[in-house]
């Protein structure tokens, strides 16, 4: 895309992009750290991950301020308008990913400090790997302005949903087998949900990236494969 005649306008948009990319990197790192803390029941790393979330919150505020400044000074239109509106939404989505990672870290502390340690089901690690790749790939799509790459991330959420459904059933079975461990399994269930939600947020980011590049919304409603609420309802 051609440069703006006003170079400072390009500089401001570059700053917005840079904050978004830094936030994406931090969210991916937070997820990886929270899962390592969970896997190894590492209290120090869990605490460090919780604290790292503050950086994301601060960057979100920085992005907001920059975008508001762009609106006030530049009255952006067309690609610029889509870019800054999307950035505003994407930073909120990434900040939510950070919240989910923080929640995983918090639960890993609760699990480590609880009685009768139960090791993490491997499926959660697979879910985390998938969610982590989704974050990285959607941020790559953002940097490269790759609409097709964004759609590819969007489509991969279904697989994460399927993994969540499998994890849900697996954890529910463990709860039934060992009711005395229901506390720790509840944490694992919530962690699975957090991972699934991180995937949802990455999918939302993909939609925004696609909109920013193409100027059209991905209207087609994604068929959610989350059948767990129906199972709870049927099995009450």
């Amino acid at each position: 895309m051609n440069q703006h005649i006003l170079r400072t306008y390009d500089d401001e948009l570059m700053e917005v992009r840079s904050v978004v990319v830094r936030m994406g990197g931090l969210a991916a790192e937070q997820l990886a750290d929270s899962m390592q803390a969970l896997r190894e029941l590492d209290l120090d790393l869990a605490e460090k991950t919780r604290q790292a979330d503050k950086k994301l919150d601060a960057l979100e505020v920085q992005a907001e301020n920059t975008v508001i400044g762009v609106f006030a000074r530049r009255a952006p239109v067309a690609d610029d308008l889509r870019e800054v509106v999307s950035a505003l939404k994407i930073t909120t989505m990434i900040e939510r990913m950070g919240d989910y990672a923080k929640n995983i870290a918090r639960r890993s502390i609760a699990i480590a400090e609880g009685k009768g340690v139960v090791l993490m089901p491997p499926l959660l690690d697979d879910m985390a790997t998938h969610a982590h790749e989704m974050i990285q790939d959607v941020m790559d799509a953002y940097v490269k302005r790759g609409a097709d790459e964004a759609i590819a991330v969007w489509e991969r959420d279904e697989h994460l949903d399927n993994m969540y459904n499998a994890a849900y059933r697996q954890i529910l079975a463990r709860m039934m087998e060992a009711p005395e461990q229901i506390g720790v399994w509840s944490h694992y269930l919530m962690i699975a949900k957090n991972l699934e939600r991180i995937g949802d947020q990455a999918t939302n980011v993909a939609e925004q990236v696609h909109y920013a590049i193409m100027g059209e919304f991905l209207e087609e409603a994604r068929q959610k494969r989350d059948r767990t609420s129906a199972e709870v309802f049927e099995g009450h």
């Binding site: 895309m1 005649i5 009255a75 067309a78 610029d80």
Partner: protein, 265 residues
């Protein structure tokens, strides 16, 4: 390629107030407007945008034959008003300019009273049978132009003594007074401050729906604020035509994008 097909789909069933068909305008050797096809609708404000020299004002001036007075200007193609060719021999240009009124870049009231500025058109077109009827037309026109309450006590003052914004609204009242069907505006706010601009834009909002309005503007934000349709011209060609929201959020043509976002192109 201009995006006219998309617009024609959007306005299926509506009769255009004016139709521009394959219009070329030349000033001597200069080919200023190149094969424009465009429909203008009664219910719409249409903004013509583009860099200086792109042909937008030239095209605007063809719509009520203001270019007739320019010696080496030639217009080819057809421009229809309610299906009637405005360049046909039998057309009375004075009548045409009553039906297709114009407001210029700089307010240009006559050096006459506020009253006479508005009454001038109805008088020469015989629209009022007596003084009471003329008074009514003047009041109604100033009212529609949002100026009545500001000038009702000084109708005998010279129009040129009003503020710039008031003068421009007086010119709009003057155009309205002869019951036009189309109002052409050539950068009507370029000499006005933001408050006077806002008043004129509010007036355009009020008038839209009653008249087909075509506005040439260099202000992207003004085009976005006041129009429902936007046309982008470049080097005499129509590059893109579409709903204003679409043009300003997701233009289809790269040249439109570069222009409205202020990029080198």
């Amino acid at each position: 390629m201009p995006d006219t097909a998309i617009d024609l789909q959007n306005t299926v069933g509506a009769q255009p107030k004016m139709s521009i068909r394959d219009v070329h305008v030349r000033y001597g050797e200069t080919h200023a407007v190149k094969g424009i096809n465009l429909d203008l609708y009664q219910d719409n404000v249409t903004a013509l945008i583009g860099p200086s020299g792109c042909g937008k004002s030239t095209l605007l001036r063809c719509l009520n034959r203001m270019n007739d007075t320019i010696v080496d200007c030639s217009v080819e193609g057809s421009i229809l008003l309610d299906g009637e060719d405005i360049y046909a021999k039998e057309i009375d240009v004075v009548q045409l300019r009553a039906r297709v009124g114009m407001v210029f870049q700089k307010p240009n009231p006559f050096p006459k009273s506020v009253y006479d500025n508005v009454a001038y058109g109805p008088r020469i077109h015989g629209l009022a049978t007596d003084r009471d009827a003329l008074d009514e037309i003047v009041e109604a026109s100033l009212e529609k132009a949002g100026l009545w309450h500001e000038v009702k006590d000084r109708l005998d003052h010279l129009g040129t003594t009003l503020s710039g914004g008031q003068q421009q609204r007086l010119c709009i009242a003057r155009a309205i007074a002869v019951n036009p069907e189309v109002i052409l505006m050539d950068e009507p706010c370029s000499s006005l401050d933001p408050i006077a601009t806002a008043r004129v834009e509010a007036l355009i909002d009020e008038l839209s729906g009653h008249y087909a309005i075509v506005i040439v503007t260099h202000s992207m934000q003004q085009a976005a604020r006041v129009s429902q349709k936007t046309v982008f011209f470049h080097l005499g060609e129509m590059i893109e035509y579409g709903d204003t929201t679409q043009i300003f959020t997701a233009p289809r043509q790269e040249r439109t994008r570069d222009y409205i976002t202020g990029r080198f192109g």
